[in-house]
């Protein structure tokens, strides 16, 4: 399988994630889109690693996953906190810079 395919796929996923960040108005979906972007990057890493014949790509993937886990935990906690304040998950509802 040529690596180009994997790269294109990865770019595609990344674009989809970005689009999600811009188009969706739901904090949780935003977070999901971010996860998609992360995974796109992971795919690229692993593919490159495979081509290079090293396993650094996979290692980096683990780190990305860890970060993703931390990000999800904190992000969701934030979402819960925000939801308590305004009964909404629309990011536009949280434009006030202080309350």
């Amino acid at each position: 399988m040529p690596i180009g395919h994997y790269l294109v796929l990865s770019g595609l996923l990344f674009a989809i994630g970005t689009a999600g960040v811009f188009l969706r108005r739901n904090l949780i979906t935003l977070l999901l889109s971010v996860e998609i972007m992360l995974n796109a990057v992971n795919l690229a890493f692993v593919a490159f690693g495979r081509v290079a014949g090293t396993n650094d790509g996979q290692i980096i993937t683990f780190f990305v996953m860890t970060v993703a886990a931390a990000e999800a935990a904190v992000g969701l906690a934030l979402v819960i906190g925000l939801f308590r304040h305004r009964e909404s998950l629309n990011p536009e509802a949280f434009t006030s810079l202080k309350w």
Partner: protein, 175 residues
């Protein structure tokens, strides 16, 4: 085309469709499910890339833990389907504009990526060619605990911080 290519396209299709559904779905629960599907696709791709460990970990961590957390939150808040936009028109950068900008940028990015790929050489190199895969769990472990020791430890600190932060943030303020 070989079964390998077949598998690749199958998994790629699953992944892409899943990702698209995530963005398209209005209902967060469905979004979560679709992203899980996408992750399974990715896991398949990792297997194709001879990274079975990554594949399984992808399932365990992403699909098994992180997404359960998402689902949990979705249910806890019982988020409704995305409500129609109430746009803040008082602001010059109000959302439709933002969306347009975003769309334009997305297109730009896509073009640039395409261009970059077109410039790149050696895209035809098969992933399986060249060196054989270094993906035995033992090797991964060795590298992880020798070469990437520091990063690994830092990661653990990061996790701790994240846990504490999550607990603090989600705690009910008693006022």
């Amino acid at each position: 085309m070989g079964s390998d290519a077949l598998l690749f396209y199958t998994f790629a299709a699953i992944t892409v469709i899943g990702a698209l559904l995530v963005v398209i779905q209005k209902n967060p629960v469905y979004s979560v499910l679709s992203i899980i599907a996408a992750f399974f696709g990715l896991a398949g791709l990792y297997v194709l890339l001879e990274a079975p460990f990554v594949a399984v970990v992808q399932i365990i961590i992403y699909a098994g833990a992180i997404m359960v957390l998402f689902l949990f939150v979705v249910m806890l808040l019982n988020v409704p389907r995305e409500d129609a936009a109430e746009w803040d028109r008082s602001h010059p950068l109000y959302r439709p504009m933002a969306v347009r900008i975003g769309a334009v940028l997305a297109i730009l990015l896509a073009l640039e990526l395409g261009w970059a790929l077109s410039l790149t050489t050696g895209l035809g190199v098969g992933v399986a060619e060249g060196a054989d895969a270094m993906s035995s769990v033992q090797k991964l472990g060795e590298v992880l605990f020798t070469k990437y020791m520091f990063a690994f430890e830092v990661t653990s600190i990061l996790i701790i911080v994240a846990m504490v932060g999550a607990v603090v943030l989600a705690r009910k303020r008693e006022e």
